[in-house]
């Protein structure tokens, strides 16, 4: 290999060790030592691709690259694949959301449906066990997919030693190192801590602690009214907690949620028993006593208040997680929020090192990471990949669910886009009526001139599934009329979607 790499015109003597005679008199023992250290071939086999992180971004990239025939290694330190999403995020929280909703419904919503139930009791330990069964089944599923697609799986913590080499501190003890022609960093994110509050995952918790509480807290304060805070607040509120959400901004749901939808959602959640303190900032907390005391005051200054809680959930957002990766050593750069800087093909300044998922730009969503996982593998194997950041849906799995894709009304106003809006309430939808689940609306925003869909916002039953149709429409660049003229089965909730499109370009039939 070495010979092929050097200039063909170079005199051969240049390639030989200095002094041919010298090498011939070397003792044989020394020759062995020499070969082992000085050999020009690399010590370990070089992989086509090394993925650091086995979360949604990393494992998808690894499988996709494996399918394309690359020799792939994936390094994961958790001991289980699937990252935050599968282990302590989306999946366990959905298990709890679904089962706590069933419990809540059986408790409060059976009589008028003609079902008389006896004594209903919560078995929290069993509910947690059901959650763990779902999680372990899914994570083992990925291990199987790794084997199927020839992806080598190393359990350990990776750190760069040079641009092509990663030292791995193995979970079972010991060390190894892997070399890769291409490297993908997909190390994900962690919950942002709240300054002044020490997370112990028992009294002061993040989302990780919120899916593993041993008993239902009497009072719970949620700092941050974003999606994570509202979902976990919903779970414990349904199971009997008195939940108060403290949000610095003037609306819940985070910056992406449409104003009108956020207000409606807040109303619906309030009806379910959750309390909200908007435009309120948390000044500090004291967890020295039996309960946690949280000091809050109006964001614009003013009235101070002391909140008392058994458990405080810190849900003020997430931040990129790159600790221990040693990326500074090889000269990679992160921005002020800790996100690794990449170009349009996910490359860092060192082109064979790419970054995807939560530890770089874009929304911290599992499905966005998954899209990037596929795209990055295609950039490596085919030189071309596709992610449309303008058509990534967001879903909040409360009840009713909230989902949106594209731009919201306040963004369109700020950008001075001429748009028209149309909506349709679930209370006028036949299926929602039969389900006795009629809260919520579907809202379309479309370009005033071309009728092209710019955004769809839904709060209502099954919104999370319904948003897929909106995302597809947005990806294709459809008009409201295109959706409205597409037959939707009767009686289904999706008819509300069609009618909202109708209401945007013309008039709805049933409202």
């Amino acid at each position: 290999m070495f010979r092929a790499m050097v200039p063909r015109a170079a005199p051969r003597s240049l390639l030989r060790p200095v002094g041919g005679a010298q090498s011939s008199i070397r003792p044989s023992a020394f020759y062995v030592l020499d070969r082992s250290r000085r050999g020009y071939a690399t010590e370990a086999e070089e992989k086509d691709l090394v993925v650091i992180g086995g979360g949604v971004a990393g494992y998808v990239a690894a499988i996709k690259a494996g399918q394309a025939g690359l020799k792939v290694t994936c390094i994961e330190k958790r001991g289980a694949l699937g990252g935050t999403c599968l282990n302590v995020g989306c999946i366990p929280s959905k298990s709890l959301l679904n089962n706590s909703h069933m419990y809540h419904s059986i408790l409060h919503d059976t009589k008028n449906r003609g079902i008389d139930v006896g004594d209903v009791k919560l078995n929290l330990a069993q509910m947690m066990k059901a959650k763990e069964t779902s999680v372990s089944g899914l994570t083992k599923g990925i291990e199987f997919l790794f084997k199927k697609n020839n992806v080598e799986y190393i359990k350990g913590t990776g750190a760069f030693t040079d641009e092509h080499t990663i030292a791995v501190n193995l979970l079972d003890g010991g060390e190894t190192s892997v070399k890769g022609k291409n490297i993908i960093i997909a190390t994900g994110s962690e919950a942002t801590p709240f300054p002044g509050l020490t997370i112990d995952e028992e009294k002061i918790i993040t989302s990780t602690g919120a899916i593993a509480l041993q008993k239902v807290p009497k009072k719970m304060v949620v700092i941050g009214g974003g999606i994570i805070g509202l979902e976990m607040g919903s779970v414990w509120s349904r199971l009997g907690s008195e939940v108060t959400v403290v949000e610095f901004l003037g609306q819940i749901g985070g910056p992406g949620m449409d104003n009108e939808i956020a207000k409606l959602t807040q109303k619906l959640l309030t009806k379910q028993g959750m309390k909200f303190k908007l435009n309120t900032k948390v000044m500090g907390g004291d967890d020295s006593g039996e309960t946690v005391k949280i000091n809050v005051e109006a964001a614009k200054g003013g009235k101070e208040e002391l909140l008392d809680a058994d458990v405080v959930l810190v849900a003020i957002g997430r931040r990129p997680y790159t600790a221990g990766l040693n990326f500074e050593k090889i000269g990679l750069e992160a921005d002020d929020k800790g996100r690794l800087v990449i170009d349009q093909e996910f490359r860092t300044k060192i082109p064979h090192i790419r970054v995807i998922g939560d530890c770089t730009f874009g929304p911290m969503l599992a499905h966005k990471a998954e899209e990037e996982g596929v795209a990055v593998a295609e950039f490596i194997t085919k030189g071309y990949g596709h992610v449309n950041y303008g058509a990534i849906p967001s879903v909040m799995y409360s009840h009713p669910e909230v989902a949106w894709v594209g731009q919201n009304e306040q963004e369109l106003k700020a950008a001075d886009v001429k748009y028209k809006s149309g909506s349709f309430p679930f209370s006028a939808n036949s299926r929602a009526k039969t389900n006795l689940d009629t809260e919520g609306i579907v809202k379309f925003l479309a370009d005033a001139e071309t009728d092209r869909i710019l955004g769809v916002h839904i709060v209502g039953p099954n919104a999370g599934e319904m948003i897929a149709e909106a995302t597809l429409a947005l990806e294709y660049g459809a008009s409201c009329e295109d959706v409205a003229r597409t037959s939707h089965a009767h009686p289904t909730l999706s008819e509300a979607f069609k009618e909202a499109a109708m209401a945007t370009y013309d008039k709805a039939i049933h409202y």
Binding site: F2, M5, V6, P7, R8, A9, A10, P11, L14, R26, P27, A29, F30, L33, D34, R37, R38, Y40, K181, N182, G331, E333, D335, V341, I342, D343, Q344, E345, F346, R347, K349, I350, P351, H352, T360, F361, G362, P363, F379, I380, T381, K382, G383, Y384, V387, Y389, T450, D451, R452, A473, Y476, G477, A478, S479, E481, D482, R485
Partner: protein, 120 residues
């Protein structure tokens, strides 16, 4: 039927089948800002790294790697590697991994002691 035709004349669906997806024939692989980048700009280091870095050929050359990935093109297409007539490459001009590894003290000792130091 004519009535339907007339009706359809007013409406051109925006959703249209565009055919199977194909990889574009020419792709600009020069680094640009990531579409989700909040600053919409790349640090200067991206360009400067490519100026100096040599990786299967100079990185700053256009159209050198038509499919983006490292090793996307055979090495032969990078042009001849021979030195010009009457010129010779020195080993010190090669990338570090092809240069001479300095002797370690252990090796020097091994040579000087005829290998005895390895058993000491």
């Amino acid at each position: 039927m004519n009535a339907t035709k007339q009706l359809l004349q007013h409406r051109q669906p925006m959703i249209r089948f565009l055919g199977k997806r194909h990889t574009p024939t020419s792709i600009d692989h020069t680094p640009h800002a990531h579409p989700a980048s909040p600053t919409h700009s790349l640090p200067e280091s991206f360009a400067s790294y490519r100026q100096k870095a040599q990786q299967h050929g100079p990185l700053n050359q256009q159209n050198h790697l038509p499919i983006g990935a490292i090793g996307g093109k055979p090495g032969a297409s990078l042009g001849p590697v021979e030195a010009g007539k009457g010129m010779f490459f020195d080993r010190s001009e090669l990338p570090a991994r092809f240069q001479r590894t300095p002797w370690t003290q252990a090796e020097i000792d091994a040579i000087e002691s005829g290998g005895a130091s390895m058993h000491a």
